[in-house]
């Protein structure tokens, strides 16, 4: 028992030291608001953006332990619903806000600012046991996922005669997810149009679990979840007509991994931006993103882009104060 306590103490001490190292270079920048803040910041939205926000929130807790931050993951659309009702302060979004969501915000007098925080690629993955799928075209993806394929296209060789005569099983983001909207728009051509007979979940870990143990599985989800589970999954290069491209930091950033790469955002309400705790958190977010984003498997924006986003936020918050 005693040694257990010692272990916990040692681990705690290590974490303090590590976090001190991690945030050293920002301490100068945030020194001006070094006063202890108190408050509760409610964040919800995309499960794709969740790892970034959660990482930033963890770092932020070291600086401001009295600010309570909760990060939910009910999907971009689910988050925007709460956002439009003013129930949350910040929404994580893996796509820009839709016109009807925007008009709900207007109706309820919820002003907001959109801030770009990272790039993400949509990964097409299969199980490690799949030895024959070495590239896939956007055309083939469309054949598999379009609404007309429902219960009709069920075998690999119906998509490409070179592929085996076996039934495939599909795993993908659920309809409340921004990833779903983005994928259907990029692949099928219409946002929200897809077949319905696949395993749909807003929780990417369910999809990872599903496809990793399924020889005939095919899944799509954010690149970061592939990075986290590399040893269990196989990434499939996507061919958009100009050669097969693997999603990497390079190809996502320079746009060659098209059309399956995209920017991800956070949305901050006007009322929240006025609050000291939220203001400090968003500043901290944009200052540390360049360093934290690659850690959790996403692709950071260029440094000047973060500065521009920070200026945009400060303008917004300043004008409202």
């Amino acid at each position: 028992m005693k040694s257990n306590f010692q272990l916990i103490w040692a681990a705690g001490a290590m974490m303090v030291i590590l976090s001190a190292c991690g945030s050293k270079d920002n301490s100068a920048e945030t020194a001006n608001d070094a006063t202890k803040l108190k408050g509760e910041i409610k964040i919800d939205g995309s499960s794709t953006v969740y790892p970034i926000t959660e990482a930033v929130a963890e770092e932020f807790r070291n600086e401001q332990p009295d600010v309570k931050i909760t990060v939910g993951l009910s999907g971009t659309g689910g988050g925007f619903k709460k956002f439009g009702r003013g129930e949350i302060d910040i929404n994580d979004a893996s796509r820009p806000i839709k016109p009807q969501e925007d008009s709900i915000c207007k109706q309820n007098n919820v002003g907001f600012v959109e801030l770009k925080v990272a790039f993400d690629g949509l990964a097409i993955v299969v199980s490690k046991e799949n030895t024959w799928l070495n590239e896939i075209t956007i055309e083939e993806l469309k054949k598999i996922w379009e609404p007309a394929a429902q219960r009709k296209v069920t075998k690999w060789n119906q998509v490409n005669p070179k592929w085996p005569n076996e039934e495939f099983r599909l795993y993908g983001a659920g309809v409340a997810s921004g990833t779903y909207d983005y994928f259907t728009e990029a692949v099928v051509g219409k946002s929200g149009a897809s077949r319905g007979d696949y395993t749909a979940s807003e929780d990417d870990n369910v999809l990872v679990q599903g496809v990793s143990g399924d020889k005939n599985g095919l899944a799509f989800f954010g690149l970061a979840y592939y990075e986290e589970n590399k040893e269990r999954l196989k990434l499939v290069p996507v061919n958009n007509g100009s050669g097969a491209v693997l999603p990497t930091a390079e190809t996502v950033k320079n746009g060659t991994y098209a059309p399956l790469s995209r920017p991800v955002f956070i949305y901050v309400t006007e009322a929240a931006a006025r609050r000291k705790d939220v203001n400090a958190f968003v500043n901290f977010y944009l200052q540390t993103a360049a360093e934290l984003v690659p850690d959790v498997g996403y692709i950071a924006l260029p440094q000047e882009e973060y500065r521009a986003q920070l200026a945009k936020f400060q303008d917004f918050a300043g004008a409202k104060q």
Partner: protein, 292 residues
């Protein structure tokens, strides 16, 4: 004075009884009123006979069959697992085990009923499924088989505990008469005591079925979330309960069609468990006092 206090207590007791009845009526009312809007848009024939259930997607179908087969498939697998084991355990505890063993074993068995179902779900997904995959080729990660087996383990205590009570209640004289005729212990247990306790055993089985039909976490985690019209236990299926959880966890707008589907699925489930409860009540009543 005494009379008024008596009256107050009587009213209090009666009203606490009425609360449960009112709750049941409230639930039935909500189920009916909310699914009313659903059946106004979807004809009953489509609901019962369409073979696809895709209310969340662009090509919408509202056939409950895939959810029903999913529910029945997992329940049937659970029963195939729990029935033989549960009854053998009950016979052992009541006829063979001596007092000490019985005292230790019974509570140990009931611990199975105390394990949270979410734990059973992850047990199915991360232990049972990979194990089954080593010798069943083509077993999907989410499948009815492993969810059903684990659900069976979960309802063993329901069946064994209630059956054991029924076996134990069989009068000693029957056993003695059987021994007197020269029957062995095994013959006595399975040819005399089990048939004599059959009504209690039947009730335990029906309660086990009701538990399996209504079980949610295990199937939501391990059986998958894809409505699938199949009786192949190697495939992933979605049960009625898993669908309700899936939709409730996402974001559906109040009063939208997606929202109403939850209640249509809910009322179907309710009808089944209601029916099972009534059958078990009826059996109990009909055969209860046979040996007294």
């Amino acid at each position: 004075m005494k009379k008024t206090s008596e009256k107050i207590i009587e009213v209090l007791l009666a009203s606490s009884g009425f609360i449960t009845i009112l709750t049941t009526i409230g639930i039935i009312w909500v189920l009916i009123s909310e699914s009313w809007g659903f059946f106004a848009e979807v004809p009953l024939g489509k609901f019962l006979f369409d073979t696809q259930w895709t209310p969340l997607f662009s090509d919408k179908h509202y056939g409950i069959l895939p959810l029903l087969t999913g529910t029945f498939l997992t329940t049937a697998i659970a029963l195939l697992t729990a029935l033989p084991l549960g009854i053998v355990i009950a016979v052992y505890l009541s006829e063979y085990a001596d007092k000490k063993v019985r005292k230790a074993l019974k509570p140990a068995l009931e611990i199975l009923a105390a394990v949270p179902t979410v734990v059973y779900g992850f047990f199915a997904l991360t232990v049972v499924t990979p194990f089954l995959q080593t010798f069943i080729p083509g077993l999907s990660t989410f499948n009815a088989l492993s969810a059903g087996i684990v659900m069976g383990i979960m309802i063993i205590p329901v069946i064994s505990s209630l059956s054991e009570d029924a076996l134990f209640a069989v009068p000693k004289s029957l056993r003695e008469a059987s021994y007197g005729m020269g029957a062995t212990k095994f013959q006595t247990a399975f040819s005399v005591v089990v048939p004599a306790a059959s009504s209690g055993i039947l009730v335990s089985i029906i309660l086990g079925i009701a538990r399996a039909v209504g079980e949610t976490m295990v199937v939501a985690i391990a059986a998958g979330q894809q409505p699938n019209l199949t009786l192949d236990p190697r495939e992933g299926v979605e049960t009625i309960t898993a669908y309700i959880v899936q939709v409730s966890l996402g974001d559906v707008q109040h009063d939208s069609m997606e929202y109403k589907t939850i209640f249509a699925a809910g009322i179907t489930l309710f009808l089944f468990t209601f029916l099972l409860n009534n059958v078990s009540y009826w059996i109990k009543k009909k055969y209860q006092e046979r040996y007294e």
